[in-house]
Symmetry: C2
Subunit: 339 residues, 2 copies
DNA sequence: TCTGATCCTTGAGTCGATTCAGTGTTCCAT
DNA sequence: ATGGAACACTGAATCGACTCAAGGATCAGA
């Protein structure tokens, strides 16, 4: 008769196996594992812990989720994890979630509304305890869907929707300081490389640009609209260079666009900031390692991510929905013309 | 007496509610939902579908996972989702998984072995059907742990470990062509900005560099070792510039390092490729939008990710473990000195 | 030694979906 | 008309963990 090592037995180890091995009932195992209100005798606890170790027992999350109605998982919907802004966001959300014992289900929506909706449905079916929605497009529809299903928070949205908790920065003010900085260097013709937004109203960044211009008594500079991507920025840059009155400074509405813009400028043999100064928005690493390093408006992504997770499954859970505005900060580097 | 709209009732809708509403048994609902082997009469099916729609029923994934022993979820362990190489990988894995109806649990290990181990354990407890392990550090230990628990595949590893399926490129050959290209431009002193690896043996990229040098009858150039990051590349660049015999060309072992290297070069007032030519490894977008655009060795990340997912939960499931080598390709741009 | 309080531990039901064995129809062939 | 195959559907057990009500042991005080 061969004695199988207990740990090498077939199939997953269940709480029942542990109970049998430790010579107690399954309930005790639960109490030991979860540290419930019931007290377990130290000796018993030791036996159970031993059994757990020897058997290599690991609780079945599915069963736990079924019984508890919570999967200890949160979902994240981003347009594109390849975009450094979102990849940082995903990382930060994962960190914050892990801190609280939650896992992160990542989905990419490609900025596609239908796909986004499908992703949310999918997450809901998987019993996530909450979802963080980081979307470029803003559809009240989505929010309804969302909030009806599961707790959710919107990230990086300035629209203060009363119905849902959201985290974002003041886009208008952020853009304003970036453009104001350009104006303070003496620029009179400041262009805008703007990302296309779906809403009817102009994006806050465009308003901020306008505001800074007005504040400084400057005329409205040329605008080029394109996607919030490197390619978009590149195209916008080319158009801006070809415009009737070429600007001496350009504000790009995202770092990614600024990177593309920089390429267009370099290709045209222009020096930055010598010939054209540039500032942008987001504060991602890309901006730090571009050439020249970009002066950019930093969004506190990690803080926003943490706050989002806290609102979903952490200390701030259950608080009434509200829009939280996070402070931005101008990261002065070299693309603006500062020494 | 108020008649509550069925859909507005409290609590989640279960299969039981649907069954009651449709006037059938719960088993039938299952058959309708899953299209099992049993046939359901069209009329009955319609009734059930109707009930599902009206009630807004959505199957509980936890219960399903418990019963089926599969969560239709796969896990991904990357060192840092903020690194463009890994964020692309994560995106690609998510796409491939979604294609097959699987969701993606993302975890970051920070290149920390203990954390990585914890993440894997965590994923295992969550009943993932497989995990994709993209790790810089290579620990056989991990593999054991892994494969004992759940099907897994290693990504981007050249070590052909018989025990686990893995996907990777031929680092030696990839590096070789990048350095050979530099040599073909007439460079005699080619330096290396190498990432630090944990293994005892040199990383394949270093071997490739050596091989290309030997093939071309060139002497060994200066080496600077640092982290696989922008900062690391920057530091390596500074050291390389300060070395006794400054190289006229440098091969960086990753795009990220190349970006940092470029910064060091720019700061030193050197022109690329005029004063110093550069090539690197990975083929990420960062390399395309740097200035100048980097000539780099492309890794087919999407293909590798798809293959990994297929091996885990797709068509290739169950095939015997093997190491698949994917082809690399030199993306010629401007940093090498090509016109 | 008996009583009652204090502690531990157990049994059994539950969460929601799956699936198999079995019941009751229908319908065709003989 | 009848046997039986084909078909549509039902009932109940099951997956693993949680938890409440209840049972048993232990110990102090009298």
């Amino acid at each position: 008769m061969t004695t199988q090592p207990a740990s090498a037995s077939r199939g997953p180890v269940t709480r029942k196996d542990v109970a049998r091995y430790a010579g107690v009932s399954t309930a005790v195992v639960s109490y030991v594992v979860n540290g419930g209100p019931k007290k377990v005798a130290p000796a018993t606890e030791a036996k159970v812990q031993d059994a757990i170790r020897v058997l290599g027992y690991r609780p079945n999350a599915a069963a736990r989720a079924l019984k508890l109605g919570s999967s200890e998982t949160i979902g994240l919907v981003v347009p594109d994890n390849t975009n450094p802004f979102y990849s940082l966001l995903a990382h930060a959300v994962e960190d914050a979630a892990a801190e609280l014992g939650y896992a992160l289900l990542l989905t990419n929506s490609a900025g596609n509304l239908a796909k986004e909706r499908r992703n949310i449905r999918n997450l809901a079916a998987r019993q996530v305890d909450g979802v963080v929605l980081a979307s470029v497009v803003f559809e009240p529809d989505l929010v309804d869907l969302e909030s009806a299903e599961i707790p959710s928070v919107l990230l990086s949205h300035s629209d203060s929707q009363a119905e849902v908790t959201s985290m974002g920065v003041d886009l208008v003010e952020g853009a304003r300081i970036a453009v104001e900085h350009l104006a303070s260097h003496g620029h009179k013709n400041i262009g805008l490389a703007m990302g296309t937004t779906t809403g009817d109203e102009a994006d806050g960044r465009e308003q901020g640009w306008l505001k800074a211009l007005a504040d400084a008594g400057l005329p409205e500079g040329p605008i080029a609209r394109s996607a919030f991507t490197r390619e978009g920025g590149y195209a916008a840059g080319k158009r801006l260079l070809a415009s009737a009155q070429r600007p001496s400074a350009i504000f790009a509405s995202s770092d990614l666009q600024a990177v593309g813009l920089l390429r267009a400028l370099h290709e045209a043999g222009l020096s930055v900031p010598g010939d054209i100064a540039v500032t942008s928005f987001d504060g991602s690493v890309e901006a730090e390692y571009s050439w020249p390093p970009l002066t950019t408006v930093e969004q506190p992504v990690r803080e926003m991510a943490e706050a989002a997770v806290r609102a979903l499954v952490g200390a701030d859970r259950g608080e009434p929905p509200r829009h939280r505005v996070f402070p931005t900060r101008l990261l002065v580097r070299q693309s603006c013309g500062c020494p």
